[in-house]
Amino acid sequence: MSTLTEVESVVVRFSGDSGDGMQLTGNQFSNTSAMMGNDIATFPDYPAEIRAPQGTIAGVSGFQIHFGSREIFTPGDATDMLVAFNPAALKVNLKDLKKGGTLLVNSDAFTDSKIAKAGFEVNPLESGELEGYQVIKVPMDSQTIEALKEIDLDTKSKKRCKNFYALGMTYFLYHRDMKTTLQWMEHKFSDHPQLLLANQSAMKAGAHFAETLEEVVSTYKVSSAKIDPGTYRQINGNTSTAWGFIRAAQAAKLPLFLGSYPITPASDILHELSKYKEFDVKTFQAEDEIAGICAAMGAGLAGSLAITTSSGPGIGLKGEAIGLAISYEMPLVIVNVQRGGPSTGLPTKTEQSDLFQAFYGRNGDAPLVIVAASRPNDCFHMAYEASRLALEHMTPVIMLTDGYIANGTEPWKIPDVDAHYADIKHKMLDPTTVDTENWSWISRDPKTHVRDWAIPGMPGLEHRIGGLEKDFTTGNVSYDPANHQKMSNIRQAKIEAVSENIPLQELEGESSGDLLIISWGGTYGAVEMAMRALQKEGKKVSLIHLRYINPMPKNVGEVIKNFKKVIVPELNMGQMVHLINAKFGCNAIGFNKVEGLPFKIAELHAAFTQALNEV
């Protein structure tokens, strides 16, 4: 009865209680798939911050993997297979399972009390509401315990192996090679031979059980993808960001200093950077976000590559200091890993609603550079770029990512850093070559308007800087009216001049047509997929996905002019579309969603189609 189907891509989601090891299980599945040459994208979905009581909706933890034999950009809209370890996991995830999809459930967990806790009126395994899915009911707890009966371990520990039992089954269904996970276990449990044996046995037992299972109607095979040759690794956005900074500091031959205060979902950048002291990285966990940025500024004044990281509410607190950094004209990178707002909002959910804040969250006319990463592995590149622009242009740079790409992982072709990420030319002076008598700290490069960087320790270049307006020539405090205008103009011109130092905007698709999609930041994967689908349907649609947000690449205005209609999909109430319309005087429309979730390809496809129909 069981059939083998060859498919292009598959989406699997593991879901269970916080304590069920779902992140681990998902990671193993995705590593294995990557090793087997598939392209992948993953989406870990933690519960809200506090571990809720077992078995509740609030306590559900999930991990979704999309793997395929073609390029994969997103973790997938709907799932082909759902592995539900308890009723709450089923309740939360069923709506995303494709009709006809495979549902593997742990029937041992479907006790009356757990069913009730999940909010089901009746047992869904019996109520008929699972009709239309390929349901595989397995008493995972008991079968795992049974499979491990020979092993000398307490029952609780044996039960804990059920995630690998399920993983074994899933590996069988998708013709995955267990080798990678078996090896990983050997390393992980090297000090616990009993645990090693138990977990390995559980996985093998699961795979074996699946093989014999009558219910199993189909298995699926996903060939390896045609992928650029090279060495690959998986990386999530926050790690990628951290590494980008480490590399930028190396390229600039400067020490790296992070001043930060923990906040979800940005904390992992702090955690990651705190590991690499050998790279001359100092991390300073400050008493609050204000002290975080101020300490970073202090380090920047002392000659470090200065970074501060946070999320929306914390970025708000940094506004005054960002203004000071603008006024100082000093290099500083501010990372905002965006989450759902306003206020504390939805700390563990993703959103793009801090774009306005990045542009305008300060008093006065206070322009700075803004960049945004488009996907987990692009965080490396944009962190490097943010650092490069900060150092080359003596300016604070805001780098926007979001909870979705920060936590999401995807394969990353390890770049040739010696070729492409090797040399940042900052503005730090060599005091021995300066005519100290006639030097002023505020003297500028005539073309880029960028000032020099002199730091304490350099003899003869002692100077004083403050947040009061400065005289254009001497850098001293000035209340002169004309000077304030001049300084305001130069601050703006300096940022605009950065457009000479960034790549032109890439356009995907024809250079003219019916619909231009303008997207930015972490929505790239879904937008790209939706656009490709439309292009395949023969629609005249093109895409510019912005990563340099302020200033924008010089050709953006030109590109826009060649399309009949412009649509700006965003995970906010309409921020980029507002900026685009104000800046380019066009009548772009927005497609907006604020549900704390990334875009689905399907909803974008529908929105773009509708926009095309209205052209």
Binding site: Y276, I290, A302, I465, N476
Partner: protein, 338 residues
């Protein structure tokens, strides 16, 4: 940093070309002069000295110093200085702040810098008023005082800066006064030589908005009867005509007249390294009925944040060997596509 004894600066070497813009008669002038003079003796090169300030009349200080100087934002100087010193521990870092700047908006950064014991000197100009914004009460303003924002008298209980610093686990607490240039210089030199955060409060007169707020214990005539200059190892005695001393009555420090009943030998001996004595002194000092304390109240050694950071970096480097970015990139699971 070791002292460089070959430097021969004069006070003028530390004056910038900027016109000093405090009100005529402001106590800040005397402090500026004392610090400029003290700097000629610390044995540090001018370019290695950094002044960081917040916002306030006092915080204009860095503009007048011919060193590196950063006039930052209100209350945040200790945080900026913390990063600066941690990034480059070889600098001599001075934070200049006012009672509003450091105890009002900047209170948290102050206590955290002190807690971490970052090696810098925090000099608080206490004029018990917001000078720059023209005369509102501050966290050190006396209760009942009429100010711009308290037309019917201030209701807040004031902080005692020394007591607060002690509560935040300070390793060095000193106080001095704008009318005694020599004492100021001595205190600055001792503060600079202390390793860890040195917290120095200076009684400073604001002639415009709070003139005479400290007069009983800073004016030459009355000073000796209302204050004690603490000296390590010396008994706590004071008074111009009638000699007085501090004794401990059970646990409570008390002022007694020296003569028949009490002699110098009965008085408390100052020991700046004694934590318990310090705890009594700062509590006593907050009591308005007691004489004010000048000099170094407390000075002990403890681990220093910026040193620990540097040590940890060195340790990790020693253990892990030279940093290799390629190794990092290739760490963990990787796979190869042909």
């Amino acid at each position: 940093m070791s002292k460089n004894t070959e430097l021969t600066y004069t006070k003028k070497d530390f004056s910038s070309d900027q016109e000093v813009k405090w009100c005529p008669g402001c106590g800040d002038y005397a402090i500026l002069s004392a610090i400029q003079t003290a700097l000629t003796q610390i044995g540090r090169k001018r370019e290695e000295i950094v002044f960081v300030s917040g916002i306030g009349c006092s915080s204009r200080f860095p503009y007048y110093m011919n060193t590196y100087g950063y006039h930052t934002i209100h209350g945040r100087a200790p945080a900026v200085a913390s990063g600066l010193k941690t990034a480059n521990p070889s600098l001599s870092v001075w934070v200049i702040t006012g009672d509003g700047d450091s105890l009002s908006i900047g209170g948290n950064h102050l206590i955290h810098a002190i807690r971490r014991n970052i090696d810098m000197n925090i000099v608080l100009f206490n004029n018990e008023i917001y000078g720059l914004t023209k005369g509102q009460y501050s966290p050190t303003t006396q209760q009942g005082q009429i100010t711009k924002s308290t037309p019917y008298g201030s209701l807040d209980r004031p902080f005692s800066p020394a007591k607060l610093a002690f509560g935040a686990s300070a390793t060095f607490i000193a106080r001095t006064l704008d009318t005694d240039s020599k004492h100021m210089q001595e205190v600055m030199l001792e503060a600079e030589s202390h390793r860890g955060t040195s917290f120095i409060e200076i009684y400073q007169n604001c002639v415009i908005f709070n003139d005479g707020c400290h007069s009983s214990y800073v004016d030459k005539q009355s000073r000796e009867d209302h204050s004690i200059v603490l000296t390590h190892g010396k008994p706590m005695i004071f008074g111009s005509e009638i000699k007085k001393g501090i004794i401990l009555d059970h646990l409570t420090p008390k002022v007694v007249e020296l003569g028949e009943t009490y002699t110098e030998g009965d008085c408390l001996i100052h020991d700046k390294t004694n934590e318990m004595l310090a705890s009594l002194l700062v509590a006593m000092d907050a009591n308005k009925a007691m004489p004010k304390l000048y000099g170094v109240l407390y000075a002990v050694n403890d681990v220093i944040y910026n040193e620990q950071v540097a040590a940890q970096v060195a340790e990790v480097k020693a253990k892990k060997g030279p940093a290799d970015f390629h190794k990092l990139l290739n760490s963990g699971d990787t796979w190869h596509i042909e």
